[in-house]
């Protein structure tokens, strides 16, 4: 029987209902033995990540010791590959480790740190905006999430999910991180309530249901108007096509809406995933994560929705913006106060200026920024753990999902885009060598330096795509084609 995960979800969702979700998922994913669909999750932090935050002691020693902070001090000419490194001992990677007290699964053996990748095409300064994920300038192409999700075309309700946070709770959208295609922005939804309405409105009961219903009303009105206009148009066939396309697109969206309603029936995977992983609905709880003034609360709400969307079958691709792109100037008052800084005293820009180039970890500003990175990685790690609990095709969902934690801006505030430190988690059954390793490429300027484009090529290959030259690097700037063999091999 040629069963797909989606058809199974739909079949079960439309059936008699499943009382307990976890057994349901176990059964669901176990039945798909031999089948899997790759998933990609990108966490993007704004305004640079200091490479040393991701250096474990063993790697740092190999690079020259505690005074090594970034690519500037790398002296090697061939990639350094280290296995069995204590990643959890890196300043911002503690979240990967075992926490018996909380029963957290060890993710170190599912992770790899990548240092030394450059990406001059993306630029630097405060944020490279859409350049970071598209590796082009001037909106010249899709970001990697859009490229992969479009190419895979899995027929899921959402090809990709893009959510995030910034310092301003009222801000709804970020238009400067992802691109759908040339000249076409793919917005990131910053308002968790809005994200809930779009992705989980179908399973909502309260205001989310109302917003979901409103959207349907708007689409129903529009599709009927487009149909009339198409039918009444008396001009040439060429021009009629424009109305035809508008009508067909609206019709597709109406159908997807109805599909979501179908997928959301009680007992379905989507319904159960939403019940299990979401913190209620917006406005439902007193301590409402969706509308919290604190950035990390809202980030948690967004992360919960990513978890539920991946497990519930809404999408196989997600981007989470942690104050990236135009939102780079985030402040973290809830962390600053812990390190003796006056609450609300500093925006991210001031923090970075206060911390300088990051070579003074003892400064309060450095500690705040390091902790912000740590917390965000912790949020990502917890999604990974939840996927690791779900069996799938002889492994777990985590084995078929690659998580990437990166910055939109390279190695620091006012970056030169010379080094883009990254953390990879999961994806071992996609071919990723994420077994507790660190890989450090020679610094920018070396013939053996590699670029973010190579990592994105690697994501493509892991998803079964023949992707060797992602982005717009001209031949003079592209150092090498293809994926990174140090991090991935074909399955």
């Amino acid at each position: 029987m040629n069963i797909t995960r989606r058809s199974l979800i739909k079949a079960l969702g439309a059936g008699a209902g499943v009382a307990l979700f976890a057994p349901f998922l176990t059964q669901l994913h176990a039945e798909m033995s031999g089948q899997h669909t790759p998933r990609v999750v990108l966490f993007v932090e704004g305004n640079g990540i200091w490479p040393w935050l991701m250096m474990d002691p063993m790697t740092r020693a190999q690079l020259g010791g505690e005074q090594v902070f970034s690519y500037k001090q790398y002296t090697h000419n061939t990639p350094i590959e280290l296995d069995g490194v204590p990643l959890e001992q890196a300043t911002s990677l503690a979240a990967l480790g075992v926490d018996p007290g909380q029963g957290l699964r060890d993710l170190v053996k599912h992770s790899a740190v990548v240092l030394g990748l450059s990406s001059k095409i993306a630029g630097g300064s405060h944020s490279s905006m859409t350049h970071a994920l598209s590796l082009t300038r001037a909106l010249e192409g899709p970001s990697i999430d859009a490229y992969i999700s479009t190419q895979l075309d899995l027929g899921l309700p959402f090809a990709a999910m893009r959510v995030g946070v910034c310092s301003t709770p009222s801000k709804k959208l970020n238009y400067s991180l992802c691109t759908q295609s040339k000249k076409s922005i793919a917005p990131v939804i910053l308002d968790p309530s809005e994200a809930f309405n779009i992705y989980f409105g179908s399973v909502a009961q309260g205001a989310g249901q109302a917003a979901f219903t409103k959207r349907k009303e708007l689409l129903d009105f529009s599709v009927e108007q487009a149909r009339k206009a198409r039918d009444q148009f008396s001009g040439s066939s060429t021009e009629r096509l424009k109305l035809e396309r508008y009508f067909e697109s609206l019709e597709t969206m109406v159908n997807r809406h109805e599909e979501l309603v179908e997928l959301a029936k009680p007992g379905s995977a989507l319904f159960e995933a939403s019940q299990m992983y979401l913190s209620g609905e917006p406005g439902e709880l007193t301590d409402d994560l969706y509308t919290s003034p604190f950035l990390f609360d809202r980030l948690q709400a967004q992360a919960d929705m990513v978890t539920a969307a991946l497990i519930g079958g809404l999408t196989n691709c997600a981007v989470v913006s942690c104050a990236a792109g135009e939102d780079w100037n985030a402040a973290y008052p809830e962390i600053q106060v812990l390190h003796g800084m006056q609450r609300n005293a500093s925006a991210h820009d001031d923090l970075r200026h206060g911390a300088g180039t990051g070579t003074r970890p003892e400064l309060a500003e450095s500690k705040v920024l390091a902790e912000a990175t740590s917390r965000q990685i912790g949020v990502m790690a917890n999604i990974a753990r939840k996927l690791a609990d779900v069996p799938e095709a002889g492994g777990t969902m985590l084995d078929h999902t690659i998580f990437v934690y990166m910055s939109d801006n390279g190695e620091m505030h006012h970056s030169t885009a010379s080094e883009w430190p990254m953390l990879l988690v999961g994806g071992q059954r996609l071919g990723f060598k994420t077994t507790g390793r660190s890989v450090v490429y020679p610094k920018q300027g070396s013939d053996n330096n590699r670029q973010v484009s190579n990592l994105f090529n690697t994501l493509g290959h892991a998803c079964g795509l023949d992707l060797d030259e992602f982005g717009g690097e001209p031949p003079t700037q592209r150092i090498a084609r293809g994926p990174l063999s140090e991090l991935w091999s074909p399955v």
Binding site: G123, L139, I185, E217, T238, R245, Y246, T252, M253
Partner: protein, 676 residues
């Protein structure tokens, strides 16, 4: 079966319906596929385009135009930098000009994005303005249309408005906020049905209902597409005149990139600046109401009326704030945008004219291209340090500074020439009167922004007069730093000359350069990295396999080598005097072919007197204002434009000739099959 008019088009032109080469049934044509190459009319020999057979009747094909992003934003009365900027209605990249219409529609991704911005400004329609203070800032738009109080019943939240009231509201919304034309009864009925259903929801506030009603109206096809099909009787040649309303729309959109009657927010600024006396007729009637009135009384069909309307719209000299730019500056440190409005030059051209020059010359690319390295390299400022570098960079994009940027600086140069309107092309190609940045407030941290113009001392006088400077070593818009940098490469000895020469071939001479053959290693040799760009290009491209195409580009690009990649004048070029000399080869104008030029200033001056270059300029104008590449059948119109231009070199006369031509006014009747 497809309409024969579509089959008829001349394949040589690669005209804007070339996606229909295979005329299979309509639904099988995939409009999402990008066109294989840029659509221009360059492939037609220029002489054939200006050979008019007397008594030939001309027209254009009927079409639907999707509204463009900035048009949508302006119509909604929204500023640059607001969510309306994210309305995803951008022209396809294979269109030379944003005014081209082929394949422009809405697909699923575009609609999804549109839904994210569709509410922007809907609150303008949610209540009446504060009548006590008269402050229009809160509800600037609705005040414009409801000053008579005719919609008071709709905003009475103590009761649900009756059908008559709802229809008055939806009619007003459609006609003054969405369609900008009389609404069809079916449109009013459908939107009113939707509105009543929304208003009847007890759980929904009036503001929430209005947001839904406005959003629904903005999703209606009439809000997204406008027709240019013609209306009335078909003449003996099978042509049909644009309807009065279509003509008003076509004229205002092409001239000023907004709808006639679109709501004016001028008074938002004027209220702050001038108080209640700042109200104008525009405040109530909307922009370009004269076109609307001419459409309503039918006088718009009179070519003399069109001419008068165009002339009063297209260009003017403005003393005082540039309210016409009120919506164009976003992200300024001052929320009102006033500083930039005050610092823009006194020469105004309508936004459509401004955009024509931006798109033809391609200088707006400076805002989005990759950052260029070592911007001072080879100039006399090369050792001046970071402050000069940063001053240059802040001429491009630092929104925190209130001084206008390179793009607006060149806009100003061009606008002055258009407003003066004599020998426009020659002046464009020779002027050395540039509008340069001043250094005024403490916000403007970088005082050497004028250094790129070879002006050492900052201009500290905050007047327009002080910003107009005669600059050395420049002659024409092709020597303006904005143009040079927009067509420059990342490093000073990269092949900028090739790119610039290619641009000249394609846009000054309207000729195509063959694409790069597969397998050709079109890169300069790394071993020559320490040599001048000219030396590097010569050593690489004079090989036999390259020279065939490069002889079309390099000679037209070398003259620009007196400037570096960012537009600074070179002082020394890798140990030698900068060399801009060249011999122009394979030039279609016999007067220029084989001619020696000293540098870009000399070359541009020679272009200025070339009849061939003038005709290419006319072709470019035609493309933008008609919204498609020219075809042989347009020869009489092109000739008409030339005759108008030749009188005194007037750009405005030339545009008037085009906008009163049959090509602009008539459409082939699509029901009649094959076009003549």
């Amino acid at each position: 079966m497809p309409d024969m008019e579509d089959v008829q088009q001349d394949q040589d032109t690669r005209a804007d319906t070339s996606d229909l080469e295979d005329m299979s049934p309509v639904v099988q044509v995939d409009m999402s596929d990008p066109a294989p190459e840029r659509l221009t009319g360059n492939s037609i020999p220029q002489s054939e385009l200006f050979t008019c057979t007397p008594d030939t009747l001309t027209a254009s094909r009927g079409r639907l135009r999707r509204v463009e992003r900035d048009e949508w934003r302006r119509n909604a009365g929204r500023w640059s930098g607001t969510a309306a900027d994210n309305v995803p209605f951008l022209a396809s990249s294979d269109h030379q000009y944003s005014s081209y219409t082929a394949r422009e529609t809405l697909d699923e991704a575009i609609i999804e994005l549109y839904l994210g911005s569709i509410h922007d400004g809907s609150s303008y329609w949610a209540s009446l303005p504060d009548g006590r203070s008269g402050n229009p800032s809160a509800h600037a738009q609705i005040m414009t249309t409801t000053h008579s109080g005719e919609l008071a019943c709709f905003f009475d939240t103590t009761q649900v408005p009756d059908r008559d009231c709802v229809e008055r509201y939806t009619t007003k919304l459609l006609e003054r906020g969405v369609l900008y034309r009389p609404a069809h009864p079916d449109e009013v009925r459908d939107l009113s049905d939707f509105a009543q259903a929304q208003l009847a929801k007890p759980e929904q506030s009036r503001d929430e209902s209005v947001e839904m009603i406005v959003s629904a109206a903005r999703m209606m096809p009439g809000a997204l597409f406008r027709t240019e099909s013609g209306d009335g009787e078909v003449d003996d040649a099978g042509r049909i005149h644009l309807s009065d309303q279509e003509l008003a729309h076509s004229l205002v959109y092409v001239l000023d990139k907004r709808a006639p009657g679109s709501l004016s927010v001028h008074r938002h600024f004027r209220w702050h600046e001038e108080g209640a006396s700042g109200y104008t007729a525009d405040s109530v009637e909307g922009h370009h109401a004269a076109f609307t009135r001419a459409a309503e009384d039918g006088s718009i069909r009179d070519p003399e009326v069109i001419e008068a309307l165009v002339r009063q719209t297209i260009a003017a000299k403005i003393e005082g704030p540039r309210y016409d730019l009120a919506l164009e500056f976003g992200g300024t440190r001052s929320s009102s945008g006033m500083p930039k409005m005050n610092r823009a030059s006194e020469y105004k051209v309508s936004l459509g004219v401004r955009d024509f020059f931006r798109e033809w010359l391609g200088y707006e690319a400076i805002r989005t291209k990759p950052g260029q390295a070592d911007v001072l390299a080879t100039s006399r400022f090369r050792d001046a340090g970071n402050r000069y570098r940063q001053s240059y960079v802040n001429n491009i994009s630092d929104a925190r500074e209130d001084e206008i940027k390179f793009v607006e600086q060149l806009d100003s140069v061009i606008a002055r020439i258009v407003v003066e309107d004599e020998d426009v092309l020659a002046n464009l190609l020779t002027t050395s009167t540039f509008y340069v940045p001043a250094w005024i407030t403490t916000f403007d941290a970088h005082r050497w922004k004028a250094a790129v113009y070879e002006i050492d001392e900052p201009i500290t006088e905050d007047t327009r007069e002080a910003r107009w400077q005669t600059v050395p070593m420049r002659g024409g818009v092709l020597t303006h730093p904005a143009w040079l940098a927009a067509h420059g490469h990342p490093n000073e000895n990269d092949p900028s000359a090739v790119e610039r020469g290619k641009w000249v071939r394609e846009n000054i001479f309207c000729q195509d350069v063959p694409g790069l053959p597969e397998g050709v290693d079109a890169m300069l040799d790394p071993e020559t990295i320490n040599e001048s760009a000219r030396t590097r290009i010569q050593s690489k491209t004079e090989e036999a396999e390259c020279v065939g195409c490069h002889k079309l580009m390099n000679p037209l690009g070398y003259p620009f080598e007196i400037y570096n990649h960012t537009g600074f004048v070179r002082e020394v070029d890798h140990g030698a005097e900068p060399d801009g000399s060249s011999v122009l080869l394979d030039i279609p104008d016999p007067m220029l072919d084989g001619v020696e030029v000293r540098d870009a200033i000399d070359m541009s001056a020679k272009f200025a007197s070339s009849p061939y270059v003038k005709r290419c300029f006319i072709r470019q104008t035609f493309r933008y204002f008609v919204g498609r590449p020219e075809e042989r059948a347009d020869a009489c119109t092109l000739q008409r434009m030339e005759a108008a231009y030749d009188e005194k070199g007037s750009f405005i006369d030339m545009v008037v000739a085009l906008l009163t031509s049959d090509t602009f006014l008539y459409r082939w009747d699509s029901t009649q099959g094959e076009q003549p």
